[in-house]
């Protein structure tokens, strides 16, 4: 059952303020992830889990890095369920968890951050992991 929208509004805003495009429908997900070239970071947002509170600031920090994905999009697990399910179809080899992040390049998942890699870690540590992936997969020579 979704949480009250009033509760999640600040969590949505935290994502859009850092430049993420929020995808709320399957059509929006397909437009963003289907047959798209370049690099896209998909952030599976989450209300609970004791981890999302670090994951969002971590991504915000990582996006201040010099090299970053062409595009950042987000779906909200437990809230926008159809959009989230559709997004997960684009990285179906990976077990669903939230929060989590998938870095996709030319339609292929090249880096994945699971919830278990976020829990209990500070945003700086998570951001370093992301920045390394950005350097590896999003740079001009990647």
């Amino acid at each position: 059952m979704p949480y009250p929208e009033q509760l999640v509004t600040p969590m949505r805003a935290e994502m859009t303020l850092m430049g993420a495009e929020e995808l709320k429908t399957t059509a929006e997900v397909d437009a963003a992830l289907g047959d798209v070239r370049g690099t896209t970071l998909v952030f599976i947002n989450s209300v609970c889990g004791c981890a999302a509170g670090n994951a969002r600031p971590a991504l915000s920090l990582a996006l201040q890095h010099g090299v970053k994905p062409d595009r950042v999009v987000t779906v909200f697990a437990g809230q926008d369920t159809d959009a989230t399910a559709r997004a997960r179809q684009y990285f179906s080899d990976y077990q669903p968890s939230s929060p989590s992040m998938a870095l996709i390049r030319d339609g292929e998942v090249v880096h994945f951050v699971h919830r278990h890699q976020i829990e209990g870690r500070n945003p700086q540590s998570i951001a370093e992991n992301l920045a390394q992936a950005f350097d590896k997969f999003c740079g001009a020579t990647a």
Binding site: C50, A51, N54, Q95, H116, Q117, E119, G120
Partner: protein, 89 residues
């Protein structure tokens, strides 16, 4: 909402994915909920049984790379089954 965390009054490992080695030889990977008189309460648990599928290290590596494949949504690992318990990842 930065840094917003629910459940701040829970045990330290609450919400953290852990690996539990069992006296039976089973290995459990799941999200720690709490430990009580009945045992360790885990959520979204993957279970490895010796001789059933991948060797343990390969199974653990697969869980790390692709995420925990859930066998049980919730499980209590009895205290006398728990040999050791630590963070997964």
């Amino acid at each position: 909402m930065s840094g917003h965390v629910f459940h701040t009054n829970r045990q330290e490992l609450h919400g953290v994915t852990v690996v539990v080695n069992g006296a039976s030889g089973k290995t459990y990977v799941g999200r720690y909920h709490e430990r009580n008189e009945r045992g360790v309460v885990l959520k979204d648990v993957g279970i490895h049984e010796p001789g059933n599928g991948l060797p343990l290290e390969d199974w653990l590596e697969r869980q790390r790379k692709f995420g925990v494949k859930v066998d049980e949504r919730a499980l209590v690992v009895p205290n006398d089954e728990v040999v050791d318990l630590g963070r997964f990842g």
